[in-house]
């Protein structure tokens, strides 16, 4: 899969991306807190309306995460869905952070709800890593980062004092999975092989029928 297959970023998004990737989060007193410079208030921008051009699929609202927040998003998304090999790249390699930025910047109620959870979660996770390691989350080594994630990645059994973190992680993981597995690479990784015209539809192949214990299709 070549890079042409993933959605193009606007120049502005690309600049933000480059800044995030090269780590320009340098000048802050409280390490990592620059990730929280956008208030978690509601977005009031316009949606795409009731009659958008379906072929263009344009996103009319501006993305709102800053470079540091994008960096944090990339680091956490790649912990959730890391690079395995060329057929299963990391979340950030298929631009999941840009998708999450698009999502939480949208003016619709569900996305606004997620925006609060995600932005508050950014604050929470940096506070937590400062509390435990004296560093922002993006500066943690793998062991340290995983220690924090292990405490919040199963919301049904998370400790009460980690409840907010667990709520954030659940939402963030949902968006990471959603963003990843709706890309061309992600769909293929999951095992979706459709969206191609066929001359005929033959039903499941013999190996699948065998697995299901079905000797012969009924029609």
């Amino acid at each position: 899969m070549n890079i042409e297959a993933v959605p193009r970023m606007s120049r502005r998004d690309a600049m933000k991306w480059i800044m995030a990737a090269t780590g320009t989060a340098a000048f802050l007193s409280y390490r990592g807190l620059e990730a929280n410079s956008i208030p978690a208030g509601e977005r009031t921008g316009k949606g795409y309306g009731l009659d958008p051009n379906l072929l263009e699929g344009k996103v009319p609202w501006e993305r709102t995460l800053n470079a540091a927040q994008l960096k944090l998003t990339a680091v956490l998304a790649d912990i959730i869905l890391p690079h395995v090999d060329s057929t299963s790249p990391s979340a950030s390699a298929v631009h999941v952070p840009d998708f999450i930025d698009e999502w939480i910047s949208a003016p619709y109620p569900n996305q606004q709800r997620d925006r609060k959870i995600i932005l508050n979660g950014f604050v929470w996770i940096d506070k937590e890593s400062n509390r435990r390691y004296g560093k922002s989350f993006v500066e943690l080594n793998e062991t340290e980062a995983c220690a924090i994630c292990d405490g919040i990645c199963h919301s049904s059994v998370a400790a009460p004092e980690l409840a907010e973190g667990a709520r954030f992680f659940t939402a963030f993981r949902g968006l990471t999975l959603g963003g990843y597995y709706t890309t061309a690479i992600g769909m293929q990784d999951a095992g979706y092989v459709g969206n191609v015209p066929l001359v005929s539809f033959e039903g499941p192949p013999p190996e699948v029928l065998k697995r299901l214990g079905i000797e012969r299709a009924p029609w």
């Binding site: 993933v6 959605p7 949606g47 795409y48 009731l50 009659d51 958008p52 379906l54 072929l55 699929g57 996103v59 009319p60 912990i79 959730i80 869905l81 890391p82 395995v84 698009e102 999502w103 949208a106 619709y108 109620p109 569900n110 994630c149 292990d150 990645c153 199963h154 992680f169 993981r173 949902g174 999975l177 959603g178 963003g179 597995y181 709706t182 992600g186 769909m187 990784d189 999951a190 095992g191 979706y192 092989v193 459709g194 969206n195 191609v196 015209p197 066929l198 001359v199 005929s200 539809f201 039903g203 499941p204 192949p205 699948v208 029928l209 697995r211 299901l212 079905i214 299709a217 029609w219």
Partner: protein, 599 residues
Amino acid sequence: MPHLTAGKSKPDYDVIVVGSGAAGGQTAYTLAMDGVKVLMLEAGRNYDPIAETPMFNTHEHAPLRAVPTPDKPLGYFDATVNGGWQIPGEPYTNASSLPGREFKWWRPRMLGGRTNHWGRIALRNGPYDFKPYSRDGLGFDWPMTYEEIAPYYDKVESLIGVYGTNENMENTPNSPEGVLLRPPKARASELLMHKAAGRLGIPVVPVHRAVLSERLNSKKIPQWLHPHNPKAATILAAEMDRRLACFWATPCNRGCSIKATYQSTTVHLPPALATGNLDIITDAMVRSVSVDANGRATGVNFIDKSTGQDYIIKGRIVVLAAGAMESVRILLNSRSARHGAGLGNSSGLLGKYIMDTVGAELRGKIPALENLPPHNEDGAGGAHVYVPWWLYQEQAAGKLDFPRGYHIETAGSRREPTVGTFENLERLSGVGYGRRLKEEARRYYGSTVAYGGRGEMIPNQNCFTELDPQVRDRWGIPVLRFHWQWSEYEFRQAAHMQRTFAEIITTMGGSHGNLDPTGKEAIEDGGRVIHEVGGAIMGADPKKSVTNSHSQCWDAPNIYITDGASFCSNSDKNPTLTIMALAWRAADHMIAEMKKGNL
């Protein structure tokens, strides 16, 4: 398509058809092919499925990966233009905001209406479905029999193309030999369901859908449909040849640019326009039907939405096919000295007995479907199988606590993943993050199923619509106010649906969420299934109905209501095919009455 601008149409028409969906499309088709001069008015914009359908666009190429939003409640790619549960400036109201008492009204504003996005499930009503009152004493009998409608089902199926099989099942009619197209092969989850349900005595059979699994025979069908009309047959043959067979990709609810599915815009309107007998005005919001001193229709008043200007168009006959509730609204708003309570309302039944389909669902997780080798299950862009109602005998013997049947629709397979597909992956797998999460995604992808019941409600006096005394839309037209209340019949049926789904899922070796033993939580809100019908019910007695068996208004014989408003029951079978069969029959009646000089 030659769309006229409002104000530039001919001075008068034989027939004015309000609405361009299944009812308006079929009515206009039948009339125009027979030489009748027709004007169609559509409240929405022009819509061209060839140019506008996002066929192979993946979710990645849509805002928010195409998830539903308030702007596009069925997802970004759903073929609904300027519509949804709410239309800005065109409100409706509910008399009660209590849970379960609200009616939800889905409206598009586009040429072709809901036929552009509909589920394509095309089932015939059976003989019982036309005589429900005679069978169990509830609701109303239709003023005709299945045998009288059957020839029109044959014609509609032949025209639009429907895949499926004849199963010789009770109250589930066969089509004549050669009418149905080959059914697609079942998918893995459908095969597993077939096997498990079979053990429970529940029949899983090919569903009937208006999708061309093979091309239509343009040599035979047009001549059969139009035997004494070579011009119509020639036009239809040419249009049929422009429709391609399904290429087993892309979801049908986006519409179909290769015309493999039935949409009014790809099947009814092109041949009707090719005759030269049909004019269409879009963005034409009908306010009311105008009548003369004798109470007969003279034409319609409409607003050109692009300028806000009012127009009057004259016609010998007015056909209301605006969607059941919208047609009722137009009639209620057509008050005159002769029709003080609304046109066609001498019985007092206009707006009464509105119905939807009873809906309840259950999802299941099926271990046997985990980790299957990747294979293409797009298929015909919708379900390949269904369960027709199978317990007629038990019901007749009084063994069930609800009077009418339901069929089961199925979903769940290896379709294109959405943002929500893996939302519960951690709960399913116990894996929180990392490389193993990717393995779990592969394991669980395509391993869940969802079953939905589609059941018959009994028409009741608590479900009706009327004009809201205060609220008007942006055009100054009074809006509808709805009253809704399910009865115990529907709650019990919904509970039975969930119990059945649970049995099937369990027999498949799967597990499911909690059941609602009361059915009151499980049941969908009124209107949610988007099968709303009634409000101008047909019958044999003018005192007890709004139209006769030809969908002709008792009070004004040159008004016909050819959409679902005339339904006096709403069987479990999805209404669209029956709407088209009744519309064809009504149009034949108009032609005959015009020839006789009665209209």
